[in-house]
Amino acid sequence: MPKRLFQGLLVLVMSLAAALGFASAAMAQDSDLSIRVQVRDQQRDEQGRPDNQPVAGVTIVLADGQGTELQRIETDAEGVALFPLPAKADYVVTLVEDTLPDGQSLSEGTVVEQRIPADSFTTSTRTISYFTGSSQSATQSSLEEVAQLTANGIQLGLILAMCSVGLSLIFGTTGLTNFAHGEMVTWGALMAYLLNVTGLGFLGFLGFLPLIDGDGRFQILLAAPFAMALGAALGYAFDWGIFGRLRRRGIGLITQMVLTVGLSILLRNAFLFQFGGRTRPLKDYTLQQAIEIGPVSVTPRDIVITLLSAVILVAVAMTLQMTRLGKATRAVSDNVDLARATGIDTQRVIRIVWMAGGALAALGGVFRGMTEQVGFEMGSNLLFLMFAGITLGGLGSAFGALVGGFMVGLFVELATLVVPSELKNTPALVVLILVLLLRPQGILGKAQRVG
């Protein structure tokens, strides 16, 4: 019993350490200067009262006093888009009317473009409200819109693919469906936030080095690799502290799967505990001017992220295809017993898969945190898209995860041509169900019995 108790305590201590690992100072950022834009639907009900529904998925553009575009954000589920600002200055906020849900338009008297003079900041947060009402005009899908959505979709797809590789490989090598994988994504973004925004004060003496300032804040270029390493550490901790032990004790996969659900709840709330419920941006490259490439408007940051994701995914694929370790991984994924019989150290391979998966998920989280914002639920909100992706690609296949994740990301973005953007995850469920009906082994999965 003491040994069992020890293991139980270990699990708890580990998770609490994960919770408290990033110092409590993380929350001190709330007073930063920002513009908060909220979009509300004022459609009146039968009694004539406006209902004030938040409108999600509306693109808001922030520009400086000269009208140069700085940043564009979609409103979240609360109908809010939050722009962090470096200083009080003249700004212009514009609502992109094409992105309003079908059948909605700005109500009369609401101006699309709102100027915010520097002296109008009475508090650190300036709130701008847009009100919409219903209208009969439907938005038109144009070629430009398709091009823009394709660009967004490629980016989301690559990030999804990066996050899903670990999920699929862990399934392939151990048979475990990890419902806490979304938290591994969030973990990466939060670690980057800790290094990039909160800063590690005790590392301030390193301020003479490039990319580190006197408060121990790491430039994101440096914070991202550290976040990856911490992601790998989390993967290692999961396998060493929990799942490796459960495997050795012969605990069934279904039990382990329900356990991952508990782990996901534990970690997500630990993140909420430390980070709070708000979403926050990372520090570097947040205010960027979009450049126009043909019909597509995209920030340099997003271009770099997209290219970098593509390079990393190719590297992952090459590693799996060509190196000894990659071959061993695929062998274990194919058939554990056969792999062991040929002398592969399966436990070691599984441990490495957890670490690599954790690192890739963390980097995906950092990229997602840069393009969107960092929040405690960001990973778990992606989980279901990841599942759709790896099911489409073939559960357990790494290449399948790459292809499937990419396709789902692209599809979800393009689907907003027909689906309101507040519902843009819905088509992924359709994909999931169709794949399971028509080709349950996925695109790249082997046609074996999966039932």
């Binding site: 469906t177 039990t255 329900v258 356990l259 709840i265 759709a388 519902l423 995850n425 999931l432």
Partner: protein
């Protein structure tokens, strides 16, 4: 620290409406998970079917409240088919993935502006339950007056919902108990133990699983209905993804594949939850809980801490006592594959 009120609230939570709707949801989940071995991670979706079935009677259909349960059951059948048809021939985890996804999509749809006309958007639906209240009033329970003795004091409104709720728990408990002793129930348990063996006896495993999924879902709709009736409103965020997992934790705590487990589990779950919550809130009321200079928990952080404990308990239960308090280790769906 006000221990008297803490214990009173704990006792109240033991029999309160939360325990009621969790018990109903857990009974449904038990049919699927405990008896048949189906991993339904989307019970919240079925609960939403129940709540919106009631709410839409006034909000969209504009018909009598009493059609609500039938509409809800219709929704549940459709949802069960949607989840079951693609997955029930496949390995167990596909069902888990599709059910969790479906429940999440349902929440997105019902809170969307686009479908506000049907579901009321993120404000939900209010003012649909008068007909239900009137029955209580006709039976002599005055909504505004207090009943019971301290600490088990409830207003007439609460009492009426509680009475109906516990009657439903008893009814579904009996139904599940009898069904699982019937030949039909024995087939379900046999599927959980060895699907191939059942198939080789000529039973249509797929169809039995589908029946189990839909039956459990239909029971689950009543959990959503009781929650909606108690609150007097239907709120999309009451049916979020994690609700399923809290119900699952409560079920595993009581014991899977046991009717008693799925009733006592939720009662204990809510008593413990309320107790921890009250203690932490009392302790952090006059300032953060701290050890020396180290701030541990601030009053705004009590909620997440409590939910972290739920996650941790689910993990520890799965490792050390997956059969729960009343379960039988031999009747475990967990080690199927």
């Amino acid at each position: 620290m006000d221990w008297v009120s803490i214990f009173e609230n704990t006792l109240k939570a033991f029999v309160g409406i939360n325990a009621v709707y969790f018990a109903i949801a857990a009974l449904g989940l038990n049919v699927q998970f405990g008896y048949t071995g189906l991993l339904n991670f989307g019970q919240a979706g079925f609960m939403a079917c129940g709540a919106y079935g009631l709410g839409m009677t006034s909000h969209y259909f504009d018909i009598s409240f009493w059609w609500g349960p039938f509409i809800a059951l219709g929704f549940a059948v459709v949802l069960g088919l949607l989840m079951g048809v693609p997955t029930l021939r496949l390995r167990a985890d596909y069902l888990a993935i599709v059910t969790i996804a479906a429940a999440e999509i349902i929440r997105l749809i019902v809170r969307s502006v686009r479908f506000k006309h049907f579901f009321g958007g993120s404000d939900g639906i209010n003012g649909f339950s008068d007909a239900f209240r009137d029955v209580g009033q006709d039976l002599g329970i005055q909504p505004a007056s207090d009943y019971g003795i301290r600490p088990l004091e409830f207003t007439g409104r609460q009492l009426w919902t509680l009475i109906i709720g516990w009657l439903l728990v008893a009814l579904f408990g009996l139904v599940v108990y009898l069904l699982m002793r019937s030949p039909w129930g024995r087939v379900l348990k046999a599927i959980r133990e060895d699907e191939d063996a059942v198939r080789s006896l000529g039973k249509n495993v797929y169809w039995y699983k589908m029946q189990s999924l839909i039956l459990g879902g239909m029971i689950g709709t009543f959990a959503g209905m009781m929650l909606a009736l108690d609150r007097g409103s239907v709120q999309p965020d009451n049916y979020s993804r994690d609700v399923t997992f809290y119900v699952l934790t409560a079920l595993v705590l009581g014991g899977v594949a046991k009717v008693s487990g799925s009733i006592v589990g939720p009662m204990l779950f809510w008593a413990v939850f309320q107790f921890v919550d009250a203690v932490l809130r009392e302790a952090s009321k006059s300032g953060p809980i701290r050890i020396g200079d180290l701030t541990l928990i601030e009053s705004t952080q009590v909620g997440p801490v409590n939910l972290m404990l739920i996650g941790a308990s689910l993990m520890l239960l799965m490792v050390y006592r997956p059969q729960g308090l009343f379960g039988n280790r031999k009747e475990m769906a967990f080690d199927g594959r």
